[in-house]
Symmetry: D2
Subunit: 131 residues, 4 copies
Amino acid sequence: MSEFSELVLSVRDYECDLQGVVNNAVYQNYLEHARHEYLKSHHIDFAALAKSGINLVVIRAELDYKGSLTSGDSFIVRTRFVRKSRLKFLFIQEIYRQGEEKILLSAAITGTAVNDRGKPFIPKELDHLLK
Amino acid sequence: MSEFSELVLSVRDYECDLQGVVNNAVYQNYLEHARHEYLKSHHIDFAALAKSGINLVVIRAELDYKGSLTSGDSFIVRTRFVRKSRLKFLFIQEIYRQGEEKILLSAAITGTAVNDRGKPFIPKELDHLLK
Amino acid sequence: MSEFSELVLSVRDYECDLQGVVNNAVYQNYLEHARHEYLKSHHIDFAALAKSGINLVVIRAELDYKGSLTSGDSFIVRTRFVRKSRLKFLFIQEIYRQGEEKILLSAAITGTAVNDRGKPFIPKELDHLLK
Amino acid sequence: MSEFSELVLSVRDYECDLQGVVNNAVYQNYLEHARHEYLKSHHIDFAALAKSGINLVVIRAELDYKGSLTSGDSFIVRTRFVRKSRLKFLFIQEIYRQGEEKILLSAAITGTAVNDRGKPFIPKELDHLLK
């Protein structure tokens, strides 16, 4: 139900921009990596799926930026995976600085899978996970 | 009113990921670059503002992915800048493949400015532009 | 003989790091993009080759950093393509700030091509170009 | 003498390009991150130095690419730090896939520090470390 996974990462200095904080786009990198790690922990391999002609794709991303990460920070990406509709799934993700409770970023990432003819579907491995 | 600016860019191969298309996070790079170019064309310099202690920050990003850019594509980022509320502005942005009318990505990026004591405000250059 | 191509690019603010200048790794992005544009202008398509099982690969990169690009800069990537040995080619590349003569970065990038069985070779399109 | 530090990292899928392997430029990201972690473990903070007007800069990078990392790989960045000359230091770095002995990338990164008037020097913290 309220199951979630947590990935601990550290800011790398090259991810900070001229404002001295992690660049906005980099959070999408963090979130994607956390989603793929989540899937991998459930034996679903994004890269292997892509090679086999099944592409997991993001349809919509909503990101609320509430605070900034900066050089030296360690942080947690919390990921939950739920069904959104027959053909869509949703990753609900949050980023916290390690040891703090304040949410720095909250995101809702809607996705689907597309087969090699471009048709959206939910592969049975994902379907199983969404139950 | 419905004024907008257009920036023409080309996909760089390193921006494509193992699915062979531009990675989701890279669109945020494109959008940021188009916003900064838009501001620069109105004599507002993101980097100079940051140096002077005024940081333009993204509060919320909504991105709808409707199609993919890939190696060899040229594309247009269309940017409009409107007031959202007293302390917030909004960039409405769309990405098209050059020569096509289909929107590949539409985005709404909400931002504000923060002074050197962390207080949100709208600098007068932006205020002028939003009128 | 001393033929070269020039690509004009502009720094994007997200390419700058917390030192306020373009991050070291980003120059490799610029150089790669310039190499691929050079090849494309000679009807050699990096992505199409990769799809067909022929991978152009970098074996060695030497980069001398002599100055920095920063926000607002436009710059030129100058690219020359020469044979290094039977199975190796060399891109000699330089980066200048537009309108200046001082070299900001000079690079020598050694590469080869690898077929789908991992064997190095020079595809005939490249061989032709190297003559 | 032959002291070195090791940093264990994992490939993130967005770091792979359309050839399906980690993009060449990304290795410079890995190496930079490993250098900064090395320095941090010796109480030298790249970002704090930059803020105080002392910039550690790369003068020359030599990278020999001998193999590729790809999706799913964990790898080790091994870093050694030695004096090169009065005003230059050298990071000798190697990347291995975890559990393998084959070097995938070997690099020699020459750097110096620059004070707020642009003059190269070796800060005493680094000088101490180089003895």
